[in-house]
């Protein structure tokens, strides 16, 4: 099969970007989307052109590095998959596919399809942890956790930090990302001592980074490759309100 790509090209953070159109070489429908880009890049290189820069690493949907908006949707069509888990068999012969970087103010473009998501790290550094020192913990089974709570915490912990939630949101809100960590730790006994401090600090940093607020459209949940639920945002809002009332 062959398709036509309309790709965002941008040399550097401060240069102007533009769309460029490339016909692809012959493709195999069993290729992954990123393998298709590999083939296109080798083709461009052979023609003496600059290959398209795109972020990727594990190529099995867990590292969170890859993130492309495909035909306007972060990670493309299909629920619960990252860009690297998208296969060419989902496209049709001759189709034009538009590929853009994740668009959001707090995610500046570095080159072509690569954006800077370091804002997420800075939010995590404000409170996305339990302050335990290595070697100071008691026996693991001294702290029973009810199975439903552990399972729900795991649902939240599955977040891969890709930023699709932000890119899909008209307000570029990072609430789904932040609430996933706040909920994971808030659901577990280990997270209780810092529960209030954590939610206040992480939300404050989220605001400082310029992420917008949540208006509950649910687009983030729709785009999330790990199906993180919108309900975690409600949980975080509750925690935030309690923390405001009780203080740290």
């Amino acid at each position: 099969m062959k398709v036509t790509l309309k790709v965002w090209r941008q040399q550097s953070p401060n240069s102007a970007g533009r769309f460029e159109t490339y016909p692809t070489p012959d493709l195999n429908p069993n290729m992954s989307f990123l393998e298709m880009l590999d083939v296109v890049n080798d083709d461009l290189t052979r023609q003496g052109k600059e290959p398209i820069a795109f972020a990727h690493d594990c190529r099995e949907g867990i590292c969170g590095t890859c993130g492309l908006s495909i035909n306007g949707r972060p990670h493309g069509e299909g629920r619960g998959t990252a860009t690297c888990q998208l296969y060419m068999r989902h496209f049709t012969e001759g189709q034009t596919i538009t590929i853009e970087p994740f668009r959001a103010g707090p995610f500046p473009v570095l080159q072509d399809l690569i954006v800077d998501r370091s804002a997420f790290d800075r939010i995590m550094q404000k409170g996305g942890f339990v302050s335990v020192r290595t070697g100071s913990c008691q026996d693991a089974n001294a702290l029973p956790v009810a199975k439903p709570a552990a399972e729900l915490a795991m649902d939240a912990a599955a977040c891969i930090g890709c930023g699709a939630c932000v890119a899909s949101c008209k307000n570029a809100s990072a609430m789904l990302f932040v609430s996933a960590k706040v909920s994971q730790l808030g659901l577990l006994p280990q997270g209780q001592p810092e529960r209030h401090r954590r939610v206040l600090a992480m939300v404050a940093q989220m605001d400082r980074e310029g992420f917008g607020n949540c208006t509950v459209t649910g687009s983030c949940e729709e785009a999330c490759p790990k199906n993180i639920s919108l309900a975690f945002i409600a949980r975080m809002n509750r925690d935030y309100a309690v923390a405001l009332l009780k203080g740290e």
Binding site: M124, V130, S131, G135, Q138, M154
Partner: protein, 637 residues
């Protein structure tokens, strides 16, 4: 090259405690005067950086990813071993130690492995303390599952995402320290050389991958936790960007490279489907708890699996290894799959595949239970192959997954260059010639949380506080000049062949000659051909773009250039080891299809010393003395 393993004296059970008690310490008020640079932020690197920083050392951590949380430890699915004996099924530190030594086919260092088993329990405590959401039973206590090579259930897990959860735990500890201003974190930064001053590792040269700027980082000690080198094969289960550059550059600066030919081929991966493929996807070993491996009994049987009656199926693992059945260790299961495919009984279009069948388990336990246990893995399989594994058996085939070889380290995890420490998969120390499932996560975190904090102090205590050299020193400038020259050389070729082209050619050469089965003639052929490919690379590779900005082609070219050197060393090592052990199967040394070890001549780690670009490396040995365990023929029958 002097290889002093520095194993503490005394009974096995007391070695580690005694070493901690007798090791020199650094006083709390002096710790902040020492600067440690940690390269890599996977399980080993992130846990080491966080813990060393908690102790009070000044730490700089670098990783080539855009954030520390992306390291490939994140992709480990199945679990982490620990000798907790929560199941009351006969587990103990001794049994975990013994299983690991036996699993490694008696080619690992006893004292290191025993220490690993001893600290395993503390890792689980630490991770639970951080809020890692391990699987639990209804009573609220931790759940376990079984893994290959063990007859007890000692594997802790978080669905099929154990590596992710453990890494996010270590990343959270790292973030806590970065937030407190105690760690300088440099993402998008790749180490390109090691700086050695007066025979000691005192810093690195690294490239900022976003700007192309080179950084010289001086330190009192350097910790490498940069993972394995399986991407030398091009196709593997590694992340696309995993590479050997940091350890290879350290090797060229004098660090001994141990057992480079020990590569783990994982039995349960999705088979190769085409030439465009960029990576292979692992299906967790945990699937072998309920899945049964089989192929048709008849050669060239092309019927659909459902049409092949029970009597005409060969459940080859159960037949060959009745005691462990489908849970035979990885090297053995992989070789068995290769053997049945060599007999032309393989399945799928290419004939390079075997079935992993869940129909018995679904009949016994119900579809819902299987979905609950492995749902995400079945989903991944479906996405990639477009097949429904609930209705038809999965097709799987072995793929490169892990490297047991790595830089040689002593009991303190220090390489042959004083001041250079190597952790996790990047070192060679604990898995011998084959690693058991769920032991990589254990080793990475053991090294980072518990071993290095208790051993690095012994070295630092020999260094005067505040004696760290300046990054403007002569050695740093020389190393930077080397790096610049190499980048310019890569960009200057402007040849015709793509980097991918060379990587694929190297991968094929290595897979065919130094893969699951090896023999003298093939290894000699590869050793003759690799230098030619390398030369062609430097004459005809096309690396577009410039050095002074983000340039993914340049990054990849440097890594492939290093693979082209490392691959030759792997073949030399495989050729020199004239025995079969664990993953290293030399066709000349076998007995009824099983490995035939030669303990008389090869009960040692082979440690290679770099001699220069056009000179053959020198092979040294560290004898492996088994004081506490009797070396036995490894049997899973």
């Amino acid at each position: 090259m002097k290889l002093d393993s520095k194993i503490p004296a005394g009974p096995l059970e007391q070695k580690w405690a005694r070493h901690i008690a007798e090791n020199r310490l650094v006083a709390p008020n002096n710790k902040r005067k020492y600067h440690i640079v940690v390269v890599g932020t996977g399980l080993a690197g992130a846990s080491a950086a966080a813990t060393l920083s908690e102790l009070g050392y000044r730490v700089t951590a670098i990783c080539f990813h855009d954030t520390a949380r992306r390291a490939h430890s994140i992709a480990a699915q199945g679990g982490i071993n620990a000798a907790k004996n929560y199941q009351n099924d006969g587990d103990s530190v001794w049994r975990l130690f013994y299983d690991t030594v036996k699993g490694g086919d008696f080619r690992a260092r006893e004292a290191n492995v025993h220490r690993l088993a001893q600290v395993s329990s503390g890792i689980i405590d630490q991770c639970v303390g951080q809020g890692v959401p391990f699987a639990r039973e209804y009573g609220g206590l931790l759940a376990n599952r079984s893994f290959g090579g063990a007859q007890v259930s000692r594997t802790f897990y978080a669905r099929g995402q154990t590596g992710q959860q453990l890494l996010l735990g270590a990343y959270s500890a790292l973030s806590k320290q970065v937030g407190a201003g105690a760690i300088t974190m440099l993402p998008n930064t790749e180490m390109l050389d090691l700086v050695v001053v007066d025979g000691q590792a005192k810093g690195i040269v690294a490239r900022n991958l976003n700007t192309g700027k080179l950084e010289r980082i001086a330190a009192d000690a350097v910790v490498l936790a940069t993972g394995g080198y399986g991407n030398v094969f091009n196709l593997s289960t590694y992340a696309r960007n995993s590479n050997a550059t940091a350890i290879w550059r350290a090797h060229r600066r004098g660090a001994g490279f141990a057992n480079p030919c020990f590569t783990q081929i994982h039995p349960t991966c999705i088979p190769v489907s085409g030439d465009y493929q960029s990576k292979l996807t692992l299906m967790s070993e945990s699937l072998r708890n309920d899945g049964r491996c089989w192929v048709p009994k008849r050669e060239g049987d092309k019927r659909r699996p459902q049409e092949i009656p029970e009597a005409e199926r060969d459940y080859y693992l159960e037949r060959m290894y009745p005691a462990f059945g489908n849970l035979a260790p990885r090297d053995i299961a992989s070789r068995a799959a290769k053997r049945v495919c060599d007999e032309k009984r393989g399945v799928g279009e290419s004939g390079l595949g075997v079935y992993l069948d869940f129909s018995d388990a679904i009949n016994r336990l119900g579809l819902e239970t299987i979905k609950e246990r492995y749902g995400n893995l079945f989903d991944i399989y479906h996405e990639i192959t477009d097949e429904d594994a609930y209705g038809t058996p999965m097709r799987i085939f072995p793929a490169v997954h892990y490297t047991m070889g790595g830089l040689w380290v002593d009991y303190n995890l220090m390489s042959t260059i004083p001041g250079l420490f190597v952790l996790g998969e990047a070192n060679f120390s604990d898995h011998g010639a084959n690693r058991l499932g769920a032991s990589a996560l254990m080793q990475g975190l053991a090294d980072g949380y518990f071993v290095i904090p208790n051993t690095i102090c012994g070295y630092l205590a020999t260094q005067k506080p505040g004696s760290c050299p300046s990054a403007d020193g002569e050695e740093f400038q020389a190393a930077e000049a080397d790096v610049t020259a190499r980048i310019e050389r890569l960009l200057g070729v402007r040849g015709k062949r793509t980097i991918t082209d060379f990587h694929k050619a190297l991968g094929r050469l290595l897979w065919e000659n130094c893969g699951m089965a090896r023999k003298r003639a093939n290894l000699e052929k590869a050793i003759r051909e690799i230098p030619g490919l390398r030369e062609e690379f430097w004459q005809d590779v096309n690396v577009p773009g410039e050095a002074g900005n983000l340039n993914q082609s340049l990054e990849r070219a440097g890594r492939v250039a290093d693979f082209l050197e490392l691959a030759e060393l792997m073949c030399r090592d495989a050729l020199a080891r004239e025995e079969s052990c664990g993953c290293h199967f030399r066709e000349e040394y076998e007995e009824a299809g099983e490995c035939k070890r030669n303990d008389q001549d090869f009960a040692h780690a082979a440690v290679w010393e770099w001699q220069g670009e056009d000179k053959a490396p020198v092979r040294h040995t560290e004898p492996l003395a088994y004081e506490f365990v009797k070396m036995a023929t490894r049997s899973y029958k």
